[in-house]
Amino acid sequence: MQLQYFLLAAAALFCIGVYGLVTSRNAVRVLMSIELMLNAVNLNLMAFSNYLDPAVIRGQVFTVFVISIAAAEAAVGLAILLSIYRNRNTVDMEQFNLLKW
């Protein structure tokens, strides 16, 4: 197995995440797409850690930090979503237009 296989898989996952991020109507699914993109980044970091830096494994350290930031992001993002839902009574992204001209 080569480094390129893992990188290609991560690139495909990242593109799926971007597609979901842009086209989703449901705000929860937007957050899920962000998690997918963060996972793609993690896979990249782990592949680099194993193939380019196998003894010092800085990539694994980065991955642990990215996991913790993803946890914080999910917690705050979903809390914001619940707050918006309570005010607007919908999770439709098209209705979240308070700042849209």
Binding site: Y5, L8, L13, I16, T23, M46, I67, Y85, R88
Partner: protein, 202 residues
């Protein structure tokens, strides 16, 4: 190719197909609850890929944090906003999807070309393997000490911020309890924002 490499390649293919298929279903499934469960499948397949990359601790952390915590949080949030609402159709939604798909496909092609044409400087020293967790611990307390401490501040901010944002109706009335006033947030009584519901006619 010996037996071990063959097994690894087959595992990699199965895990990648599982990961990408579940990710596509997460994005495309009409039912958001199925999306959330399939997201757990994506995370589990990622943990398997981490094992193939000699990172047992990070694979365990992936299962623990993503499948055990974040996915559960997402499911709870879905059940909290569980309103069967049919989204009003938007004009040119299909154009948006096609354009986005084209952009994402182009992005994938670009990334793929970069990945294949770049001469990677493969380091062929033996991987850390089971020693990795000791090395991780040493990294956290030597050269990554500041990020390590900042993570705790970040988690503290996330905890407090999320409680403040989501809390509003968890305590119905706590103003008569002595000593709670200093912690109470000045919140104005909530009223439904009606902007956008009537102003937008597009």
């Amino acid at each position: 190719m010996n037996l071990a490499e063959g097994v690894q390649l087959v595992s990699f293919i199965i895990l990648t197909v599982m990961m990408l298929g579940a990710a596509l279903a997460v994005v495309l499934s009409p039912n958001i609850v199925y999306s959330a469960f399939l997201l757990g499948g994506v995370f589990s397949a990622m943990a398997g890929l981490y094992l193939l990359l000699n990172a047992s601790f990070v694979a365990a952390a992936q299962i623990l944090v993503y499948v055990g915590a974040i996915n559960v949080l997402i499911l709870f949030a879905i059940m909290l906003v569980n309103k069967r609402e049919d989204f009003a159709p938007v004009k040119y939604a299909w154009t948006r999807k096609i354009v986005t798909a084209a952009v994402c496909g182009g992005l994938f092609l670009l990334l793929g070309t970069t990945i294949i044409t770049t001469p990677w400087a493969i380091d062929s020293t033996a991987a850390a393997g089971d020693e990795a967790i000791y090395i991780l611990g040493e990294h956290f307390f030597t050269d990554f000490l500041l990020p390590f401490e900042l993570v705790s501040v970040l988690l503290l901010m996330a905890l407090i911020g999320a409680i403040v944002l989501a809390r509003r109706d968890i305590i119905p009335d706590s103003s008569n309890v002595v000593g709670q006033d200093d912690l109470k947030l000045p919140e104005k009584p909530r009223e439904l924002v009606s902007a956008g519901a009537d102003g937008e006619s597009s």
